[in-house]
Symmetry: C2
Subunit: 261 residues, 2 copies
């Protein structure tokens, strides 16, 4: 996870407090928040009190706090995350119904892949992805698609930073990664066999705006040695449908809507 | 929508700024935010600048701002909204596949029904519900279920406040509404024929924790005169499955997981 800047505006302190809540740490005391956010106890208590008063945090019967529904509401109702995910969901469900593993939607955020949605079959294999969780751009198939189509300065920044090995198969050599990104652009998809977990293969395709700019990656996570051809075809079909749904051509909207479903 | 308290802590100002973003107003200038939040221009500019610096808001090429992916991530990754919605989604999809109208999940927040998820068929009828949007407790079928099972003080507060008519059929008389709430508890579901829009009927059932406490409402929105029996049976089946999935009995987890699907 990225850290917030070390400034000490109220906004910085707020971010540091919110960052202490994670998928596996959903409830904390104000003292725990203070310690984890690196804030004086009195400061943390005061801000937590304010956040509880406005509903951005919620306090339970044990006076422990969690992220409030009100914050989720305010962060979600106008967000690009919601719109992308709403448009993509029916097509993700189609991929999921046909591939029956994991189907995911990600964007690039602060030089990582941020996952907006994940659908999974109860019988499907290993997958570390979480909704509102992140994976490194250089390791996940979604990240590779997003990185391959990012601005040059983003690519250079990622390639020049330490490339962490998530598994023995993660590409951690900048020259190898550079060739991989060229391959992703050439093939129109990214395959990441074992890059995140040795037992699984991610396959991802870009979602483009009408301008051609890549705004998201759609991916499936398969067992390591599963054939990728049929899942890839499903992903490519879904990508076309999502791109049309994001920005429907006026003439098609009028004349042949049924064919798009 | 509820307003934030009129205090002027930094948190209050933050909430007032976030509240200016809505599903239909996703991008604003700092000056527009200042006006709509009732803040001095300089204050709004400074706070918006801080929020952009931390990624909680994002600025586009025209220097207009929108809610940031970072805020969505921090508000979502540890939230009760995400967990409830994740657990419910497969069963909502089953309802949706069989009823093919609108399927929705709501909780009670600040004396309104807050919607966490909505699935819709492209051919389905009218429905004003939005994800991360709200409807009055006394008018929507989800709200009636949530209100019928709320603490007495919540019921009294709602019943003593003005009851706004969303349509000519909304129950706006406190005594009538009180009888309706008793009916909802007795029948185990709420039907709201035309209460929100004259052309549609909402039907909702409670989702309970193991303690029996109602934590959410699952609903469908049907055309006004559609029969409700089959959709209601689907909702009740899904409610059982969601309740088990939220808090699986240990023995069942071991012995018969397949039957739960």
């Amino acid at each position: 996870m990225a850290n917030s800047p070390s400034g000490d505006s109220m906004t910085d302190r707020l971010v540091r407090i919110l960052e202490t809540f994670t998928p596996t740490r959903t409830v904390q005391t104000a003292a725990e928040i203070a310690r984890r956010a690196g804030l004086p106890d009195s400061t943390a208590h005061r801000i937590v009190g304010e956040l509880v008063a406005t509903g951005l945090l919620e306090r339970d019967d044990d006076r422990r706090v969690r992220v409030g529904m009100r914050l989720w509401e305010l962060a979600t109702r106008s967000s690009r995350a919601l719109r992308l995910r709403q448009v993509a969901l029916p097509y993700m469900e189609r991929v999921q119904a046909r591939v029956r593993e994991h189907t995911q939607l990600a964007i690039r955020e602060q030089d990582e892949a941020l996952f907006l949605e994940r659908l999974s079959d109860p019988a499907s294999g290993a997958n570390v992805t979480r909704i509102a969780g992140r994976l490194p751009l250089h390791a996940s198939s979604s990240g590779l698609v997003l990185l391959a189509h990012a601005e040059t300065d983003v690519q250079e920044r990622v390639l020049s930073a330490p490339l962490r090995a998530m598994s023995p198969h993660t590409l951690v050599d900048p020259a190898t990664l550079r060739r991989k990104l060229a391959e992703v652009r050439r093939l129109g998809h990214a395959a990441a066999p074992g890059y995140i977990e040795s037992v699984s293969t991610g396959v991802a395709v870009p979602i483009r705006e009408r301008t051609g700019e890549v705004v998201a990656a759609l991916s499936v996570v398969l067992p390591r040695d599963a054939p990728i051809e049929q899942p890839l075809a499903e992903l490519r079909r879904a990508a076309v449908d999502i791109e049309v749904a994001l920005d429907p051509p006026p003439i098609e909207r009028v004349s042949v809507p049924a064919e798009r479903r």
